[in-house]
C-alpha cells in the first residue's frame, strides 16, 4: 500500500517535468522576442532591451534558460502580472477558492445524478430509462456549455427572475451562505451537466461488468433481496473504478470551468485567464495554465491513493 503510493508519486514527477517543458516551449517558440513574455511591451519602450535581457538571463542558451525558469517555478515564482504588478501566484490564490468550490459543487451534483442513473441503466438494461439516460448523456457531451449557460440565464434569471445571473462578489469576506448558494446553482449545474455523461456511461458499464460476476450470484443465493444485492454488493465494487475516473476527468472539468466562469461572471481562475488574454498579460496566462495542470496531477494522485485505500485488493498486490 505504502509502496503503491510512493510509486504513484514517483510516476507524477516526470509528468510535471514534461508539463513545465511544454509550457516553457510555448513561451520560447512564440513569434517575436521571448522577452515580451517577461516584461510588458509598453514599459519596454523606455529601457534598454539588452539590459533587461541580461537581467532575465535571456542572453543565455535555451536549456540554461529553462533550468533557471524551472528553479523559479520550484520556488513558487510564477512571475509578476503586467497589469496588476503583483505576483501571479497571489492572484491565483485569490481566485483558487472560487474555482475549487465551483468544481466541487458541480462534481457532487454530477455524481449524485450520474451514479444512480448509471446503475439504473445497467440493472434495467435496454429499458426506457436506459435509453433516456443514454440520450441525455449524449446531449450532455454535445451541448456547448457557454450557450447552455446563456440559455439558463435567459430562463431562470431574466424571464423567471429566480436566480442571479452573475455578480458573485470577488471578495469572499462576507460569507452569506444563501446568497452564495443562489449564485452557485446555475454555473455548477451547467458544469455538472457536461461532465455527467462520461460518469454515467462509465458507471453503467462498470455496473454491467459487476453484475455478471460470480459473487453477485453468491449474494443472491444467500437469499439477499435484490435491493441489497445491487446497492450493497454490486454498488461498492462498481463504484471503485469511478474514483480513478475523477482523476481522468479533472482536466475536462477545469476546461469546462473556463467557459462557465466566463458566462456567469464567476470570479475564478478560468475567468481570469480569459480576461488576461485581452490585456496580453502573459505571466498570468502561463501561470494559470501551469498551476491548473499541477492541480490536475495532484488531484488524480489523490484519486488514485483514495482508490488504493478503498480497494482491499490493492493491499495484497
Amino acid at each position: 500500500m505504502f509502496k503503491y503510493i510512493v510509486k504513484r508519486i514517483l510516476q507524477a514527477i516526470p509528468l510535471l517535468f514534461i508539463i513545465t517543458l511544454i509550457t516553457f516551449l510555448i513561451i520560447n517558440l512564440a513569434p517575436g522576442e521571448p522577452i515580451y513574455m517577461f516584461i510588458d511591451p509598453e514599459s519596454a519602450k523606455h529601457v534598454n532591451i539588452e539590459v533587461i535581457k541580461h537581467k532575465y538571463g535571456l542572453d543565455q542558451p535555451i536549456h540554461i534558460r529553462y533550468f533557471v525558469w524551472l528553479k523559479g517555478i520550484l520556488k513558487f515564482d510564477f512571475g509578476i502580472s503586467f497589469l496588476e504588478k503583483r505576483p501571479v501566484l497571489q492572484m491565483i490564490n485569490q481566485r483558487l477558492f472560487a474555482t475549487i468550490s465551483l468544481m466541487l459543487v458541480s462534481v457532487i451534483i454530477s455524481f449524485l445524478i450520474a451514479i444512480p442513473a448509471g446503475i439504473v441503466s445497467a440493472v434495467k438494461r435496454n429499458s426506457v430509462g436506459d435509453y433516456l439516460f443514454s440520450t441525455l448523456s449524449f446531449i450532455g457531451v454535445s451541448i456547448p456549455s457557454f450557450w447552455f449557460g446563456l440559455m439558463l440565464i435567459l430562463l431562470f434569471s431574466l424571464k423567471l427572475g429566480w436566480l442571479p445571473s452573475s455578480g458573485m462578489r470577488e471578495n469572499f469576506d462576507q460569507f452569506d451562505f444563501v446568497d452564495r448558494l443562489k449564485h452557485i446553482i446555475l454555473p455548477a449545474c451547467v458544469l455538472a451537466f457536461g461532465t455527467m455523461a462520461s460518469k454515467m456511461r462509465y458507471m453503467r458499464s462498470s455496473m454491467l461488468e459487476v453484475i455478471r460476476q460470480d459473487y453477485i450470484r453468491t449474494a443472491r443465493s444467500k437469499g439477499l433481496s435484490e435491493r441489497i444485492v445491487i446497492w450493497k454488493h454490486a454498488f461498492r465494487n462498481a463504484l471503485l473504478p469511478i474514483i480513478t475516473l475523477l482523476g481522468m476527468l479533472l482536466p475536462g472539468i477545469f476546461g469546462g470551468a473556463v467557459a462557465v466562469e466566463t458566462v456567469f461572471g464567476w470570479p475564478g481562475m478560468g475567468r481570469m485567464i480569459v480576461q488576461s488574454t485581452f490585456s496580453r498579460d502573459y505571466p498570468v496566462i502561463m501561470g494559470t495554465e501551469l498551476f491548473s495542470s499541477i492541480l490536475v496531477i495532484i488531484g488524480s494522485l489523490i484519486a488514485d491513493v483514495l482508490y488504493a485505500v478503498a480497494d482491499p485488493r490493492i493491499k495484497y498486490n
Partner: protein, 328 residues
C-alpha cells in the same frame, strides 16, 4: 426415505435473439433426505441450469422456467412461492456452492461479514452473535486461525481456503439441501480431495442432502449415493452409484465411463465419445444423442425415447431397452 426435493418435467428455456434455447427440457428427478445425488454430464448439458432453477436464480430475461414444470421442496411448491418467500429459502434451507472460489466471494467485504450476512438475515442474529458464529463456522470447515481470517478480505486467501469459506457460508444456516456446482473443478488435485472429504463429513454433521453437480466421475464415485446422467437438457439415465458404474445402460453413460482412465485401461487407447454436444439452437430430431451414438437405430432419429423403468430407482431413456418388445 422421504423425498426432500422432487423435480417434475422441469423446462428452463432461454429466449435469445437467435432463438429459443431449451437448456433444460423436461427433467424429472428427486433428492432424498440425507443422501448425496450426483448430477453428471458434459458442460452445456443443463446441469447448472437445473441447479439454478431450483433456487429460481435464472436471469429473466432471457431465461424462463416453463409453466408445466414442478419443483417441490420439503412439501412446498417452489415455483408458486412469491419472491419474498423464495428468499427465505435461499441460503437458509437450500444453499449453493459454486465452481469458482476465486471469484465467488465479494472482494470488498470481509470474510466474516460475508458469512454473517446470511445469519443476520435468516437466523435474526445480532451482528456480534453472527460474527462469533462465523468464526465458529470457519473453524468447522478447517480454516486455521479463524478469528484472524474472518477479519480478512478474500484476496488474502488461497483458492482452497476460499472454497472452505464458501462452504462455511453455505452451511451457516444449517440448510436441508446443499447444491454444489462443480465445487472442486477449479482447485488443485490435492485440495480437491480435502474439500470433498470436508463436504462428506459436514453433510453427516448437519444432516443435509447434497446435490453434487460435476463432470468428474471420480468425484461421483467418491461422494454420491445415487447418480443421474444428463445429456443436452435431458436425463438419460438414473440409478444408484453402484449400478451406474458396474452396469451402465445408456450408450452415453457407457461412453463416459470408457473415457476415464482406470487400472483396466492401462496401456490401451482411451475411448472417447465422438462429436460434441449439439448446438442448443438446433437440437437433432428424435433422441438427442443419436448423432454421436454408436448403437443408433433408425427409430432414434424419428422419436424421442421414453423413460424406461428398469428397477427400483433405476431408469434409462433409450430405445435399446424395452422398446424392442413393442417393435417385434
Amino acid at each position: 426415505m422421504e423425498k426432500l426435493l422432487e423435480i417434475k418435467d422441469l423446462k428452463t428455456y432461454f429466449y435469445t435473439e437467435d432463438g429459443v434455447v431449451p437448456a433444460v427440457d423436461g427433467v424429472s428427478f428427486y433428492v432424498k433426505a440425507g443422501e448425496t445425488l450426483g448430477v453428471v454430464g458434459e458442460s452445456g448439458c443443463g446441469k447448472s441450469v437445473t441447479a439454478t432453477s431450483v433456487l429460481r436464480l435464472i436471469p429473466n430475461p432471457p431465461g424462463k422456467i416453463m409453466k408445466e414444470s414442478q419443483i417441490t421442496f420439503d412439501g412446498k411448491d417452489i415455483l408458486k412461492l412469491t419472491e419474498k418467500e423464495m428468499r427465505k429459502i435461499r441460503g437458509n434451507e437450500i444453499s449453493m456452492i459454486f465452481q469458482e472460489p476465486m471469484t465467488s466471494l465479494n472482494p470488498v467485504y470481509k470474510i466474516g461479514d460475508q458469512i454473517s450476512e446470511a445469519l443476520i438475515l435468516h437466523q435474526r442474529m445480532s451482528k456480534k452473535e453472527a460474527w462469533e458464529k462465523s468464526v465458529e463456522m470457519l473453524r468447522l470447515v478447517g480454516i486455521p486461525m479463524p478469528e484472524k481470517i474472518a477479519d480478512e478480505y478474500p484476496h488474502s486467501l488461497s483458492g482452497g481456503m476460499r472454497q472452505r469459506a464458501m462452504i462455511a457460508i453455505a452451511l451457516s444456516c444449517n440448510p436441508k439441501l446443499l447444491i454444489a456446482d462443480e465445487p472442486t473443478t477449479a482447485l488443485d488435485v490435492t485440495v480437491q480431495a480435502q474439500i470433498l472429504d470436508l463436504m462428506n463429513e459436514l453433510k453427516n454433521k448437519v444432516n443435509a442432502s447434497i446435490m453434487m453437480i460435476t463432470h468428474n466421475l471420480g468425484v461421483v464415485a467418491e461422494t454420491c449415493d445415487r447418480v443421474i446422467v444428463m445429456y443436452a437438457g435431458k436425463v438419460v439415465e438414473e440409478g444408484d452409484v453402484y449400478s451406474i458404474f458396474e452396469d451402465p445402460k445408456h450408450p452415453y453413460t457407457i461412453g463416459l465411463l470408457n473415457s476415464i482412465p482406470s487400472e483396466y485401461s492401462r496401456g490401451k487407447k482411451l475411448d472417447s465419445i465422438k462429436g460434441s454436444v449439439p448446438n442448443p439452437l438446433n437440437m437433432p430430431k428424435g433422441c438427442r444423442f443419436w448423432p454421436r451414438c454408436n448403437k443408433a437405430m433408425p427409430i432414434c432419429r424419428e422419436k424421442e425415447p421414453d423413460i424406461i423403468k428398469l428397477g427400483e430407482e433405476r431408469t434409462v431413456s433409450c430405445f435399446l431397452y424395452g422398446m424392442e418388445g413393442d417393435a417385434k
